[in-house]
Symmetry: D2
Subunit: 353 residues, 4 copies
Amino acid sequence: MRVCGWTASVAGMVACFALGWTLSGRSVQGGDEPGQPAVKGWTKGKGWGPWGAADEVGSLNAMTPETIKAALGLVKQGKVYDLGVPYDAESFRWPGHNPGVILTYRGPEGVRRQGDFPAAKDPKVNPDKVAWHSCALFLNDNVGTQIDSLGHITAGDDNQWYNGFKEADWGGNFGIRKCDATTIPPIITRGVLLDVAAMRKVDALPSHYRITVADLQACLQRQKTTLRPGDTVMIRTGVLRYWGKNGSDHDKIRQHDSAGIDLAAAKWLVEQKGAILIGSDTSGLEHAPAPKEPQTFIPVHRYLLVQQGVHIGEFHYLEDLARDGVSEFCYVCMTNKIRGTTAGFTLRPIALR
Amino acid sequence: MRVCGWTASVAGMVACFALGWTLSGRSVQGGDEPGQPAVKGWTKGKGWGPWGAADEVGSLNAMTPETIKAALGLVKQGKVYDLGVPYDAESFRWPGHNPGVILTYRGPEGVRRQGDFPAAKDPKVNPDKVAWHSCALFLNDNVGTQIDSLGHITAGDDNQWYNGFKEADWGGNFGIRKCDATTIPPIITRGVLLDVAAMRKVDALPSHYRITVADLQACLQRQKTTLRPGDTVMIRTGVLRYWGKNGSDHDKIRQHDSAGIDLAAAKWLVEQKGAILIGSDTSGLEHAPAPKEPQTFIPVHRYLLVQQGVHIGEFHYLEDLARDGVSEFCYVCMTNKIRGTTAGFTLRPIALR
Amino acid sequence: MRVCGWTASVAGMVACFALGWTLSGRSVQGGDEPGQPAVKGWTKGKGWGPWGAADEVGSLNAMTPETIKAALGLVKQGKVYDLGVPYDAESFRWPGHNPGVILTYRGPEGVRRQGDFPAAKDPKVNPDKVAWHSCALFLNDNVGTQIDSLGHITAGDDNQWYNGFKEADWGGNFGIRKCDATTIPPIITRGVLLDVAAMRKVDALPSHYRITVADLQACLQRQKTTLRPGDTVMIRTGVLRYWGKNGSDHDKIRQHDSAGIDLAAAKWLVEQKGAILIGSDTSGLEHAPAPKEPQTFIPVHRYLLVQQGVHIGEFHYLEDLARDGVSEFCYVCMTNKIRGTTAGFTLRPIALR
Amino acid sequence: MRVCGWTASVAGMVACFALGWTLSGRSVQGGDEPGQPAVKGWTKGKGWGPWGAADEVGSLNAMTPETIKAALGLVKQGKVYDLGVPYDAESFRWPGHNPGVILTYRGPEGVRRQGDFPAAKDPKVNPDKVAWHSCALFLNDNVGTQIDSLGHITAGDDNQWYNGFKEADWGGNFGIRKCDATTIPPIITRGVLLDVAAMRKVDALPSHYRITVADLQACLQRQKTTLRPGDTVMIRTGVLRYWGKNGSDHDKIRQHDSAGIDLAAAKWLVEQKGAILIGSDTSGLEHAPAPKEPQTFIPVHRYLLVQQGVHIGEFHYLEDLARDGVSEFCYVCMTNKIRGTTAGFTLRPIALR
């Protein structure tokens, strides 16, 4: 089975890249609007890459000082939108991920009672009775607001992920050893909100709603905005209006969480529009269950992460942007830096305008 | 015992604030250089606050759309410095925090062998044999690159933290219920690096080196830069040149990790210079062990977090900034959003220039 | 509030103990049948203790080489009944306890891929490719088959547990520091099964069934057995017929798990019959919810653990004993030896006959 | 590679078993002393098994009601020796196992402050202010006093463990799915202490001391005892005299922990003497590092667990037995019953005499 089309078609791509990315380090292909800047590594009709046999970064390689400056240049008001949802042990998560517990590890009473830190109890050293709190956390790395790493999804008999990294070579007991979350660079791009819930005039899309290319085009038209190669695209279903303080209403969230884009929409966003990162306010971006025709139960994840090297954003809180009618913003997100992890988790990305 | 000077001296401050912060929402006190903007909530000679009885945010309340725009305006090149250190089970941490383990929770082989997710094994549903990786994490919330929350440190018989929140009221089994890491807003400020190691002409400051006001003034002079109220100040000791890929050389890191500022330096940064956030490349910012005169073993932590509401940054990787001779930058950091946690951890703050 | 009647009434008890336990180390009080041996520390009509100000063991102090030999003397066939239920991440547990996860920590593929143990990969050192499995466990200490320690339950403003140990003195961040599970000695006693489900002619007692003294007396009569001071009493509701391989049918188990003894039955077992340990096949021994009259929601726990120093057995698998019509056996149980834990958990007690 | 000689040689063994185990359920082979009982499944010169293609129990299959009654018949005094060491976060463990943490999950103050269990705070429902302690545990399943399961060790390209179970078939993300600790039956056998430290007249054997067949024979002679087929053999090095309350003196324990038996001694115990279980007071039973000739770094583990189906006991506290000069006793051990685990851990086996 072929999991990574890019690797497989390297020979065939030499021609088209010969005048572009391969020689100059930049694609000669621009977006579909006049005046759009060419974006490194992206070819209209093809998508992203290849970036070389050692690459673990994927489409985020296309960020350059110029694109970062341009994205920051969108900030006119200095207004910050926090796109992260608060997470705790009660929060909704995909049931295939382990539960999470946040525990007081040390507290001031415990420190003094336990007596294992003598300075804390010594009235000469610590007359002001200073002590501390810390927590021990048992977590899954796919919870709360997330960015999936390119090693999250595998395919094929040899369990390959992005760029042909195989389980037998790069798996392990302590997480993945290629494309873990530490390889996700700080992300600063233009961001565009596509508010499908508003376009459909609903609070939140119904269960299993399949967001198509036509839906996305209708959003662009309604919002009078356009996509440009290199954009982060955030797709709003409205589900997170039910998150509340900690996402504890599992039934309500689960009901709406299955809305999402289909494979054709993902391909259109990447191959026609040059999306560098695609996210939504659901736990999995794609609609579920997947239709019969794809070759797997999570075709969008496989296409974006394994085949295109496009990271996926999940559980992004888009309600405030929607309320303010924001279509275009500067998206900034930095993931945790934990070796082996398969996603940035419990994140707090921001939208700046 | 008096833990929170601000609360205690509210009466006495009415006079000085009557013409300033209390009436206008902004301090009339500016920095010590002509032309510096006044900064909300800061009074020269006093420091930060008060921000009201319900406040959990402290000095970061002073960020406004204007200060954020000004900070982003410092970005001229679009160059990004990643200030986070990669963390794993081998990494150095303060021994009073629990060990961390990053474990493969699901992997493609395990998913198929375990058989608990039938779709993954079904050749009709999943002919392409798509599967996934995820990790289970057992962590402490004070590891890797951190921002201490205002609830990290307590003092006094009733274990008060910032703004008078008491253990008996706001403690709990699942972390703290006031001033947890979810209350730390996205941080975007002007940042200034004070490179004490370079000023002292050493690779890294020696063990227990006490950084004084004079050291900080010498850095400003050497670097030809100034501090302004509202700045994030990052103090470099050089210890993280020994972090490597995962901070596994505990002996070397421990040797240098005890260098840091003394209480007088912390006070000078806050009360004379208006620092909104103070960080360094060590695990604890302040020099250790503390001298005899303070009333506790961690006087800088107590002063900044409990008394001034100034968050502390730890284990910030400043080597690249130092190598490039960067003194001034735009500092951006967003912490995890986990309820109850006492710090943002394994962070990836950035410096933009 | 008075939590520990024994401590409070020491003065008044001096008289009755003066000729008995205090002087001789053994109670002069025997059971209610002629010829029953006197049992150390038990007084008919009163129950167990006191055992001294430092005691953490409670009624299990009454075990002596003689009682142990007598209990082992009940074994005639050499037949072993395993009273433990298999536990995993799917198993039913009281929802107030944290979830459990059993994870492969090391496996042979992971050891070789990870490469952190060079000998495992070295064909000269390890030509036979030997490797290992181990697991990391995240567990609660009140799951599976359990014996509650005497520190599990507290009462009163000062949170006292057995023998007057107080939270302010003996609590801590790392579990309890008095009466933890390490203080539970190996338990070897006569055991008696009281099969209430069989007596009521049901597969399992219905929800909230309140087992009374009359029920227990009816069991004794039906089974033609008697209780003797120093016995372990196991009360069968039948709920564990629904445990299956791992207790994953939460709805079914929860439905029946609320049957149990009331406070009067607990008192009768201890004060009239001299039970040294009382257990059942449910998660909590006592019926739930408790009736209005007691002073708390778990009066049996409080009475047995705090006031009488009688350990509680939970989730003991009694189905095989019931099937074979066993009333009397030798009960043997050794708990885990983990400092700070509040119960022996995931145990495998045995009944020998 | 051939990992399981027994499976391979089934054909050749049919003859010798035809008159013995296969037909009668008992081996006709007895021990080497006149009058010794024949033991099921053991052949002098060969060792244990085979027990059938589905077997997960190994040599412990040889326990029968008769052997259990005989073992219990050794108890003359009713004296109990606790062979478990107390374990906590500070305790020595093999560094290849994950660290352990014991944390207060709920405590009475936290339950009330957290407010998530309303009955606990309600003065009408709970006037006596009853609350509870429980702990959350993060542990490895190979710590404290242990019994290794037959799935702990693997060998060969296909990572087989006992009885030919292969990783590709019976591995998984949640521990092993054949021969986990739930398959270890309650163990009740005759036990014999071989006190090598006393024989060598040392407090504890020196580092890397290799215990040979001659050493074991010298112990038998000195102690005037014999081994019989079906015995549990416990070999004392003396290391646990340094365990103290929690095994926190890692340097001292590590220094002595490398003493142990060599492969020839293990073979002699199994093939000539019929040991059903072999244990010691060290973390790994065998001496380390292994000599050059074996085909792996842990030849005794591989031989006993994979090839012979003989469980291994580790960190058994033998000091009290040694002090009392006990050579023969009844050994009783029941492991935790957690599905997937590779060992019984933090156990409290007992010796009865």
